[in-house]
Amino acid sequence: MLKSVPGIKGVLVLFFIPFLMFSQSPAPGMKMKGNYGGVLSVGGRSVLSTFNDGKWGDMGQGAGGQFMLQFSDHVNTAWFFDYISTGIGNYANRTDYHIGWSVMYYFTPSNAEKTPKWQPYVLAGHCFDYSNLRDNSDDRNFDERWSSAVQGGLGTHYNFTSRFDAALQGQYMVHLGNDIETEYENNEVSFIQKGGINLEGHILITLSFNYKIADLW
């Protein structure tokens, strides 16, 4: 279908020019004390949350921050906070706060001599979360819960320079603990807490930027 759009090839080539530029501009590196163990970076993140409770749609949007502390050339850790706002149909909404950590294993190790442009990784981790579900028509009608979650997924860094990167990752987050279901009948919204372990979760897609600020050890 794209082929039918006039000039699309040129546009695509122009789109990729910046990426070639990045590869031409090595940045002055950080003073390294050996390998990448101890490298600390800080960054911000934007998240999309979808597939809530096994259903597509009702995509949530969030913002947050993170810092990363690397333990070796292959292993990094991310410590993050997310604030996510999601619609439930057109009758209710939910706000989620995540605070947690992930361990990332790099397939392409970090290298102080030559920074790899792409650094794909697999990740697993844990987070604590608070959820607040609210009726769109009546702010006093709400329910909330605290819970814990485990997450796993895949992602990749794109290293623009040796110190600055952007990362795109997708992970599945399984919440452990009470679940709150939303019911909408006869223009009435009701929230029902369900006990027990519910293994349904949601997909979290994260776009983040990170800047390496120090090599701690």
Binding site: A27, D139, Y211
Partner: protein, 210 residues
């Protein structure tokens, strides 16, 4: 056409490679500005007006970190949709400029992404309900007030800066801001907006060139 573009691309790459030989002009530069910025909501006929300020620091020649504030001052419409929509953002920019070793007369094209938060409160709405018919018709009107909410927002942006001197610059930038306000008229208010900023900025080299 594609061949020509590929040739152009090769030439540009070589030029850029050569440009890195110059000393860094941008590294350790601190920039700031304050200007007026109109915003155009994509799902409403609504033009918002903001006072826009930012502070930006270049830790590297081509990378900068920027904190940004948009102070909502009103709308162009007589009956504005929003009472408040001030926004705070923080993110990173990548710069595409010819490294001449000095800022003066330099032209810089930049792109960036920023997550952040909008502090949003829609204006009150009035709804009328009519019951009955003929002389026994009763019309009641209800005013709905909305609370101030913190909305997570995402904002990619792009722009251009021209540096006529060592300490001043002119800039033009365009950004997209996405967000949703839940609970407006019992549903959702789509807050997607395009904001345009232009004006005079200032910069200060904090340390001697690397």
């Amino acid at each position: 056409m594609v061949r020509n573009l590929l040739f152009l691309l090769l030439v540009m790459s070589n030029l850029l490679f050569a440009q890195e030989e110059n000393p860094s002009a941008y590294k350790n530069v601190l920039k700031g500005t304050a200007t007026l910025a109109p915003g155009f909501m994509l799902s409403q006929t609504q033009g918002n007006i903001y006072v826009h300020g930012h502070l930006e620091y270049f830790p590297e020649e081509r990378v900068s970190l920027r904190g940004e504030g948009f102070w909502f001052t009103g709308a162009q419409e007589k009956q504005p949709l929003l009472k408040e929509n001030s926004t705070l953002l923080f993110g990173v920019l990548y710069h595409f400029h010819k490294n001449t070793g000095q800022l003066k007369n330099n032209l810089d094209f930049f792109m960036g992404i920023q997550p952040g938060a909008a502090f949003t409160r829609p204006a009150n709405t009035k709804d009328s309900t009519t019951v009955g018919s003929g002389p026994s018709t009763i019309t009641t009107s209800t005013t709905s007030e909305y609370g101030l909410k913190v909305l997570p927002v995402f904002s990619p942006f792009t722009g251009i800066t021209f540096y006529p001197g060592k300490y001043v610059n002119f800039f033009l930038e365009l950004r997209y801001v996405s967000g949703k306000y839940f609970g407006y008229r019992g549903g959702t208010l789509d807050m997607r907006e395009v904001r345009l900023s232009a004006g005079l900025g200032f910069q200060l080299p904090l340390r001697k060139k690397a």
